[in-house]
């Protein structure tokens, strides 16, 4: 598991490490958001990032997807250093699926085109094949009849499910989910979590920032608690939720319970 595969060109498939983050720092101007993050994600693991807004969860996910350039540290993706200056970040992003809090579907494209755009235009998949696969995914997640609709016609829950399918369509080796239910009405949260649950059961490697503590407890292999840009505590959900060691974790979970979110 912890094989020394630090060399940039190693590319070890044997080791089950999907992602290894080492000493990652990120600032926006004066705002020091990530202050030395170390985190490893093995294949088929589901890691839940929890923590208050502004703790750095989203920034960490965006740094992993190379949407932000880190100031210091290294990110290793399946044995390759993806923070090396010679890395083409576009090629890296084609192996990661990112889902955003606000869906970000393309409003001018129908659902089907939203899903097939990247496979066709980025990966060079023939349009017919991409459409066939997109339809299969839509049907699998109960959206088969929405393929020809524009996103605006869909409910928030349906839009977010399409966004997840869109990310899946590029066959990512890692899914990054950034508070995918936070923008949804409460009654629509379930249908989106069902999809995420199904992905977890299918063995998808996932890193998700979430405020849904019950869900994190249910599906997480490991829960990671962030505060002020550092990982305060991490462990299996049973340990982190039921017997948190750090005072800050206890305080945070206390506030969550008080707010009735757990």
């Amino acid at each position: 598991m912890s094989a020394p595969e630090e060399l940039p060109a190693a590319g070890d498939q044997a080791a089950g490490t999907a992602l290894r983050i080492e000493g990652v720092h990120k600032s926006f101007g004066q705002n020091h958001v990530l202050k030395g993050i170390d985190l490893a994600v093995d294949t088929h693991q589901v890691i839940c990032l929890i923590g208050a807004s502004g703790s750095g969860k989203s920034t960490l996910l965006r740094c992993i997807d190379l949407l932000e350039t880190i100031d210091a540290g290294r990110i290793n993706f399946f044995g390759y250093d993806i923070t090396h200056p010679d890395v083409d970040e576009i090629l890296v992003r084609r192996q990661m699926g990112m889902v955003f809090q606000s869906f970000n579907l393309f409003p001018h494209l129908r659902v089907l085109r939203n899903i097939t755009l990247a496979p066709v235009k980025a990966l060079g998949v023939p349009a017919a094949d991409a459409e066939e696969e997109a339809m299969a995914l839509l049907r699998r997640f109960g959206l088969g009849d929405k393929a020809r609709d524009y996103p605006e016609r869909l409910s928030g829950g349906q839009q977010q499910r399409v966004a997840i399918i869109r990310a899946l369509a590029i066959h990512p080796r890692l899914m990054l989910l950034d508070e995918v239910t936070s923008a949804l009405d409460p009654e629509l949260v379930g249908e989106v979590l069902d999809v995420v649950r199904e992905l977890a059961l299918a063995g998808m490697t996932m890193l998700l920032a979430t405020h849904e503590m019950g869900f994190a407890r249910e599906i997480a292999t490991r829960v990671v608690f962030l505060e002020d840009g550092v990982i305060v505590e991490e462990g299996p959900p049973s340990q982190l939720f039921d017997a948190p060691r750090d005072e800050r974790t206890k305080r945070f979970l206390g506030r969550v319970i008080e707010a009735g979110r757990m």
Binding site: D65, L67, L91, F106, P107, L117, K121
Partner: protein, 328 residues
């Protein structure tokens, strides 16, 4: 401290001793400068006496028709009663001259204003397409982040600043008389029509490139982030995600610019050699010494621009009602 604050708010300056109704009826209305605070009906704080005519939809229609008639009637009467009215009418609005100018008569030495307008339309149509393309290129260059394009980016900024700053008529003169004077091959041997269109394209592309840029900037950054996260190259994201959304938002301002392009084609008249509507009217007036030809040209330009202006309004209204319906 509290006493000071109270004296500035106006509401508390009126005695609060009264009931809630008198509080809102006199205190608030009076402090906001209601012209008739006593117009409240009885104790109901939400009613005031409206003008009787404006109470029904039909009444409002009658009122607007009446006021329109009064205004237009006033203008017509003022025009007819003006001391020089007769003179102006015979020089600018002579029906016979207008008809003559419209038709043109090559034997009498003047051209048809109506046929001239066709040339205006040609300049507009050709210019429009070229402007859309050139402006897009300029906007894309300005938008690009590539370090290789840095010199071009600087050039694009200078270009836009220059052509937005120089009056169109000077651009037309400079191109139309300057380029032929250079005696360059090809460049100096074009027709005045080509120079006119070229000047319009150069000038308007500067404006339209800014319209494009505003459109690009109107696409939320989250859209670009999600295109990037899917592994699309910047060029692909621009073409399939940003551009289609930007074009939608810029169609009304774009059409607005083209309304003014339609009539600015008349400025090409300064080159003399392009017999478009305005130039034809000019020739007519200097041949017959009657300005009715200009009136014809004005009417024809109105007939040309008003439909496009209305169509633009229609699109804006549709876009607005769509957005109000919660569709983003």
């Amino acid at each position: 401290m509290p006493a000071e604050r109270g004296s500035t708010t106006g509401v508390t300056s009126t005695p609060i001793a009264g009931s809630a109704v008198s509080f809102s009826g006199t205190g608030v209305a009076a402090s906001r400068g209601d012209p008739d605070p006593t117009g409240t009906l009885g104790a109901d704080p939400f009613r005031r006496r409206k003008k009787r005519l404006l109470r029904t939809a039909r009444g409002a229609m009658v009122a607007s028709t009446l006021s329109t008639l009064v205004v237009i009637g006033g203008i017509v009467v003022a025009f007819l009663l003006a001391p020089g009215s007769r003179q102006v009418r015979s020089v600018y609005f002579d029906v016979h001259d207008m008809w003559q100018a419209f038709l043109g008569d090559p034997h009498a030495g003047f051209y048809s204003v109506g046929a001239g307008l066709v040339i205006n339309i040609e300049m507009f149509m050709i210019g429009e397409v070229l402007i859309l393309v050139l402006a897009l290129v300029i906007a894309l260059i300005r938008q690009s982040k590539s370090p290789l394009l840095f010199p071009l980016r600087g050039l694009a900024i200078v270009y836009v600043d220059f052509f937005r700053g120089v009056p169109l008529i000077l651009v037309i003169l400079a191109i139309g008389f300057g380029l032929p004077a250079l005696y360059l091959p090809v460049v100096s041997s074009q027709s005045a029509f080509v120079y006119g269109v070229l000047a319009l394209v150069l000038s308007y592309s500067a404006y339209v490139s800014e319209v494009y840029r505003a459109g690009f900037n109107s696409v939320p950054h989250s859209q670009i982030a999600s295109a990037r996260s899917l592994g699309l190259r910047p060029r692909t994201a621009m073409r399939h995600v940003v551009l289609p959304q930007a074009v939608r938002t810029i169609i009304p301002p774009l059409l607005n610019t083209f309304v003014s392009l339609q009539k600015d084609t008349a400025l090409v008249a300064v080159l003399g050699a392009v017999i478009e509507a305005n130039r034809a009217a000019e020739i007519y007036s200097s041949t017959v010494f009657n300005y009715s030809g200009y009136t014809v040209a004005a009417i024809l330009f109105l007939l040309l621009t008003i439909p496009l202006a209305r169509f633009t309004d229609h699109l804006i209204a549709r876009d607005r009602s769509r957005r109000l319906a919660g569709v983003t």
